[in-house]
């Protein structure tokens, strides 16, 4: 019995619903870790070959709309390997990263989770929308909204990690003073 048919017999789910449930649990767990500033644990949700990438949007006329989201190698808000993300986490841990010292309070709201199989049986494509609400200091408040496309890889029976993340912010001009956290 494959792990999925086994689990199906346990929870009564079909494989597609099970995939979705597992993806949802992973993303909800991730949001919890990020909001709790448990960034070391957050990094453990990623595979070693992670690519964490956020393209930049521009306002283009309809006929040039294909160029309104930058391509890999062009403008990016994030273009990170796992080690590079770890550097950002280490920076926050110095407690001299003044943009986040004293720390912000955030709430990652993750919705519209959709899951599809990919050509690789070990990987699924997971799309989700997010709203990151941040307050900090006495009265700073901002929010960042966007969509994500993740490749989630099954690294053990029923255990998925994030192998690739594309974050597409809805804003063209970034209307917050920095992108100091993770999305």
């Amino acid at each position: 019995m494959s792990p999925d048919t086994e689990s199906m017999s346990v929870c009564g789910c079909d494989p597609a619903s099970l995939r979705e449930l597992r993806a949802q649990r992973l993303l909800h767990r991730e949001a919890e870790l990020l909001d709790a500033w448990q960034f070391e644990e957050w990094l453990e949700l990623m595979t070693e070959d992670l690519r964490y990438w956020a393209p930049v949007r521009t306002n283009r006329m309809w006929r040039e709309r294909s160029r309104s989201i930058s391509m890999p190698g062009e403008s990016a808000h994030f273009d990170e390997s796992l080690d590079q993300l770890r550097e950002r986490v280490d920076r926050l841990a110095t407690h001299m990263a003044w943009a986040e010292e004293p720390p912000s309070r955030t709430r990652h709201l993750v919705t519209n989770i959709r899951v599809e199989p990919t050509a690789d049986p070990a990987e699924i494509l997971c799309r989700s929308n997010f709203l990151v609400y941040r307050t900090r200091s006495e009265r700073d408040m901002d929010q960042v909204v966007g969509t994500r496309e993740d490749i989630l890889r099954e690294v053990g029976p029923g255990e998925f990690k994030i192998a690739r993340r594309t974050v597409i912010f809805d804003m063209a001009t970034i209307l917050v003073k920095n992108l100091s956290l993770f999305y």
Binding site: V56, M61, S75
Partner: protein, 439 residues
């Protein structure tokens, strides 16, 4: 509007009143006398390479369309339909043969000439309506320096070359190092709730903030166990001597005297070090090894030696909008260009590990200036040094032997005050000449 400019500055004591960062009347006067009269960066050749390529930008708060013409020239015009004031072009950039206003359909060519008016023959009187006299205001003068196009509304401004003056020598250390010049390969735009001059003075003059403001980034970006104090680029820089240049037209730059690449990315650093002899043959040994760090071309064009070039649009006294381009040597191999870009994304962009903390400083400064007492405080720019005697070095212009110095900020504000208290360029220049003569 009643602004006492002289009362806001004490140049002998090195004091600047915080009111300049927050006062509404000061800001209104800046739009007229600073942004209305200065040479403002519009575009680089690589941003609009082909005929019909255009981009939208701003001079102060005024929207500008900059477009490459069929003859290769660059034209710029106010992005405002002369008919009823609608924004003509509403894409950030692209390629176009013409621009049609989406309100009533008045149509303009890429130089901003009115070429089409719906129902022109039937609804307008032919003897009084002349299309050739109805167009958006053209930017009065557009001049370029080594592929960088600047525009000004001022008929009487000095030429761009004269305006840059000795700053051109330092500008070359950033833009003319490599035979193919630079190309823009990435762009970031974001807003910070703080006054535009906080950015201008920092890029001109403030190397001092880095070791505290950016302590966290400097600490984690040092590869663990592989570097010593002798090889770490940040440690090498702060332990070295440095210099600062201040221009009579408000430009400023500072650097540490450290030969060899200071780029944190090893791929880029190796490539830059390999180019050292080529750069020395183009620019001389001095600029191959030093003379670049941080810089402002007055009022709002800023750059660093890592390839970030940015224009900062003022958005009221309390907000700036930063447009930062990643500019890389056109002749560099692709992997080197990619690493320049990735490194800037990770350090100097909205998510950049350096840039984030600058935003925090500026936003907090601005917030505090709501206070009546706080905005009246005279802030300290007292880190002053005597200039190198004429002929003592190959560095052109007014140069002090320290990069931890406020002289370039004071130079920026000296010129700012000249513009803010004069009606014409001739008047502003006369103020400078009289000060020289009085020395």
């Amino acid at each position: 509007m009643n602004v006492d400019i002289d009362g806001l500055f004490d140049f002998d004591a090195g004091m600047v009143c915080a009111e300049i960062f927050v006062d509404e009347d000061v800001y209104k006067l800046e739009l007229e006398r600073v942004f209305g009269r200065s040479w403002v960066f519009l575009a680089h050749d690589s941003m609009i390479p082909r005929a019909g390529d255009f981009l939208q930008t701003y001079i102060g708060e005024d929207p500008i369309v900059v477009a490459r013409q069929k003859d290769g020239s660059v034209r710029a015009f106010l992005n405002q339909c002369i008919h009823r004031g609608m924004r003509i072009c509403r894409a950030d950039e692209g390629n176009a043969r013409s621009f049609m206003c989406s309100f009533h359909g008045w149509t303009y060519d890429t130089a901003g000439n009115l070429t089409g008016v719906p129902h022109e023959k039937t609804v307008y009187r032919p003897n009084t309506f002349d299309k050739s006299t109805r167009g958006p205001r053209k930017v009065t003068r557009v001049e370029s320096y080594k592929g960088f196009h600047f525009g000004t509304w001022a008929e009487d401004a000095p030429s761009l070359l004269e305006y840059l003056g000795d700053m051109a020598w330092y500008f070359d250390a950033y833009i003319d190092r490599y035979s193919g010049g630079l190309e823009a390969i990435a762009n970031h735009r974001w807003i910070i709730p703080a006054n535009w001059k906080l950015k201008a003075e920092q890029f001109a003059s403030d190397a001092l903030h880095a070791e505290i403001s950016h302590a966290s980034a400097i600490q984690v970006m040092t590869p663990k166990g592989t570097e010593t104090a002798e090889t770490n680029h940040a440690v090498r820089a702060v332990n070295a001597t440095g210099h600062q240049f201040a221009s009579p037209y408000g430009h400023g730059t500072g650097w540490f005297d450290v030969p060899g690449s200071l780029h944190p990315d090893p791929v880029v650093a190796n490539w830059e070090n390999e180019q050292r002899e080529n750069v020395a043959s183009r620019l001389g040994a001095l600029r191959a090894d030093t003379a670049r760090g941080h810089a402002t071309i007055f009022p709002n064009f800023h750059f660093l030696l890592n390839g970030t070039f940015r224009v900062v649009h003022p958005r009221g006294p309390n907000e700036m909008e930063i447009w930062a381009w990643t500019m890389v040597p056109a002749e560099a191999p692709e992997p080197v260009k990619e690493n320049y870009a990735r490194s800037l994304t990770r350090t100097f962009s909205p998510s950049g590990m350096f840039e984030q903390d600058d935003a925090e400083n500026w936003a907090e400064i601005q917030r505090i200036l709501r206070g009546k007492v706080a905005r009246g405080v005279r802030l300290s720019y007292e880190m002053v040094h005597d200039p190198l005697p004429s002929g003592a070095s190959e560095f052109p212009g007014y140069v002090v032997p320290a990069n931890y110095s406020d002289v370039a900020a004071l130079g920026l504000y000296r010129h700012y005050a000249d513009l803010m208290s004069s009606h014409t360029w001739a008047e502003a220049v006369e103020m400078k000449l009289q000060r020289e003569a009085a020395k």
